[in-house]
Symmetry: C2
Subunit: 168 residues, 2 copies
Amino acid sequence: MTPSTPGPGASVPVPAAAAGGPISHAIFRLARLHRMYAGQLLRRIGLHPGQELVMMHLWELGAQRQTDLVRLMDSDAATMTRTVQRLEQAGFVRRRPSPTDKRASLIEPTAASHALRREVEQSWSQLEDLVAAGLTAEERTAALETLERLEQNLVAASTEPANAEGEE
Amino acid sequence: MTPSTPGPGASVPVPAAAAGGPISHAIFRLARLHRMYAGQLLRRIGLHPGQELVMMHLWELGAQRQTDLVRLMDSDAATMTRTVQRLEQAGFVRRRPSPTDKRASLIEPTAASHALRREVEQSWSQLEDLVAAGLTAEERTAALETLERLEQNLVAASTEPANAEGEE
DNA sequence: CACAGTTACCTGCTCGAACAAGTAAATATC
DNA sequence: GATATTTACTTGTTCGAGCAGGTAACTGTG
């Protein structure tokens, strides 16, 4: 029945497993599919998942220190190091020592990279159209609110728990 | 400001970045947080993300061939091989050659693993409470429907595109 | 100025995700 | 029954994610 693999860059098999909390699992499955699609779109333009976010920050804000990128994306410093290394090697960013801080290096997008920006934005746009296909403007807003509410629940849980050792 | 690392299993920094399509990015952020929490809960009980799904399938269905697990989780065969190897090494599963098919091996949960099941279920339950905190039953249902609708959009997109070779 | 403490970055490691390729066994076809 | 194809699984590789160090540079304090 399954038509088998149609070839690279076109197969996104249907999900299957379901267990755990319904919402948790729905998030899991949705995120999985979403990641798959994003990955496919990104690969076409020569980026790996995650790299496009770094680039977008750089294109929007200009040269940044790695630490800034880490903060902006709330990612891991070690991951950022290697991601930047690969972006550099791919010719999308350049590293320049910070004039004010010898520890830091400024990451800036190369001229060559700017051609990518449109493609990244198009990919994002495509993905958004896919995931929100058939939704009215109101439904999109509602969906967004739902997602953000769930997100806020998790954010809140990370700050509240307050098994915290005394701050103060 | 940031109280520094409170210790393992307690720090989930707030997200930050936002870009791309609003819904896409909301999914991305939500999934990220969700994954973080799931990872923390799982680590406490000695599992890595993904392993718990394998175990749940085994506990529910009994011994399965790797291929079955791959199909159930719609995951990669290579990933499954290594995941099972690690679960085996951790003593949670055992591998037995299939009596009927010399290529296949049956994966079955060990007796020792059953103690884990409660913990996995508790972790899932905890996570579900976290993510759906403060939602009424109706809101949970609505959220679930929203998530599933978005998921269905992606699933549909994977089957429709119909650059497909005829499925006849 | 010397010291401790912090910050910025890098490396090593484990593990999941995905793709490519390869082996062995089962099955289909001639 | 020999050959081709499919199936089950393994290994190799790249890359993101996260944790655990480790080094150099900055900063604050005495």
